[in-house]
Amino acid sequence: MGEELRTSSVETRGMAGRKRYAMVVDTRRCIGCMACQVACKAEFDTPLGVNRTWVPYKVVGTYPNVKKQFLPRLCNHCDDPPCVRACPVEATYKVPEGGFVLMRYERCIGCKACIASCPYNARFMLPAHRTYTNITSVVDKCTFCFHRVTQGLVPSCVQTCIGRSRVFGDINDPTSEVSYLVAKNATQVLRPEQGTKPQVFYIGADRNHTEYGRDLYRRPEVMEEDRKSFDQHFGV
């Protein structure tokens, strides 16, 4: 694998002697069972209404040429993360070894600058009251299951994916499965023009998902009603 173009000092993809974890999502293998989302919810007790990972779908085409397109989503653990730049108190930071973008909950002031800076909607605010933990009213996000990966396990969403749509590994290791998949397949990342260097690679992502705001051109009424309920619930 050739040396990656690195434009900032925090980037570690392609850097010799460094691990750089990445995920490949093969959308051709995703059946939309949402098991990854459920596994993640179970792993982290993520509250209702917010998600560390989610699987949006779009019904594309008209009968009989119609298909449900899925695009599993999560934090892209960018190699040049804008959220890390935006945080005033370094509550969010990037781990040099592995490239995980993590949170220091005890330091987060809840200014939401990181939420504003994320092009992937990967961050959310935790509610003020939670049952099993006192981590409340701070920003949260996917951690690439840092606690599992550092124990030699794969993230819980990868572990549970029945179609092996999600594959996780060290992309700096040329023998890893993610390196193989990225090398052998045409892959896409979300919003590459933002310069964030996302480390979640998609195979077969549909443009109805990846194109910015495409939903707005055709907003089904039922979703508008759901959106209104969401806005009402969160006081937007």
Binding site: M34, N51, W54, P56, Y57, V59, R73, P82, V84, R85, A86, C87, P88, V89, E90, A91, R107, C108, I109, G110, C111, K112, A113, I115, A116, S117, P119, Y120, N121, M125, A128, S137, V138, R191, Q194, G195, H209, E211, Y212, G213, R214, D215, L216, P220, V222, M223, D226, R227, F230, D231, F234, V236
Partner: protein
């Protein structure tokens, strides 16, 4: 379809727009008070403008801290060991803190007849300018946001601060002819500059990519159009320019009427420029 949908909320709500509004007024009123050390016509405003500036600073500070989801942890922003110099919010924290301290220093010199107030007046004015500039950078650094991510933002926020502060000062001027004349000039040219910048923003946004195109649609149609185009541009920018150019606008009553419209425009523009570009992102799923 639509049986399972994930929704997203905008990151920054109206409280931030109110913060930008009050911090802009605080900065400009301080400058008005500082001008009194160099321009005789501003002398009647020295204390009143400063007191209102300080009040606006306190209100802005309370809004800023209150908007945090962990208000007590605002202390973290004062800890240099935590500072991330790449974040404009850190520069904002430093500028607000220094502006507050300089205001206290300036207060101690207000009653004196010598020129000891000149130094804190200049230092505070520069810090106030920094506050307006940082407010713009706060938005401009987010590279994926249409409208925000332009070099115009810091300049626009300086102009908005200048105009909103001068509008408040117009109510304090009590019809002093020379002062009314100067404030009218500031308001007229400041608002003209804002109008040119808004035109530039609208054109570049309308001619931009898909995100820009959708943001343009959000800001010029529906509820946001009423705030941005209706209150912000028509009522809060174009109408005051027309009023200030008319003979009535040269009189104290006319100036105050224009000032009122400018304040409506000031909060409306800040709100719509803050919220509008965040809306399209909530549909990226």
């Amino acid at each position: 379809m639509g049986d399972y949908v994930v929704f997203f909320d905008v990151a920054w709500h109206g409280a931030n727009a109110a913060y930008f509004f009050f911090i802009g007024i605080a900065a400009m009123l301080y400058f008005v008070s500082a001008l009194s050390w160099y321009r005789e016509e501003f002398r009647p405003l020295r204390t009143s403008a400063f007191y209102l500036s300080f009040a606006a600073l306190v209100v802005a500070g309370l809004i800023l801290v209150g908007d945090l989801s962990q208000p007590i942890r605002f202390i973290n922003t004062l800890n240099p060991a935590y500072w991330n110099w790449a974040s404009p919010l850190v520069w904002g924290t430093i500028l607000i803190s220094l502006f507050g301290l300089t205001s206290v220093w300036y207060f101690t010199t207000l009653g004196r007849t010598d020129t000891s107030g000149r130094l804190p007046a200049v230092v505070g004015s520069l810090l106030g300018l920094g506050l307006a500039i940082y407010s713009g950078f706060d938005l401009a650094v987010h590279q994926h946001r249409p409208v925000w991510n332009t070099p115009l933002m810091p300049v626009l926020f300086v102009a908005l601060s200048l105009v909103s502060g001068a509008a408040v000062a117009a109510f304090l001027a009590r019809g002093e002819a020379k002062l009314v004349g100067v404030l009218r000039q500031i308001m007229l040219w400041g608002t003209t500059a804002i109008a040119v910048m808004l035109l530039s923003l609208l054109v570049t946004t309308a001619y931009g990519g898909s995100a820009d195109e959708l943001t343009y649609a959000f800001m010029t149609a529906g509820n946001m159009a009423m705030i941005f185009v209706g209150l912000g541009i028509v009522v809060g920018t174009l109408a005051p320019i027309a009023l200030l150019l008319a003979p009535f606008g040269r009189q104290p009553t006319g100036l105050m009427a224009a000032a009122l419209l400018l304040l409506v425009g000031g909060i409306s523009l800040r709100y719509s420029i803050l919220i509008g570009p965040q809306m399209v992102q909530t549909f990226f799923s």
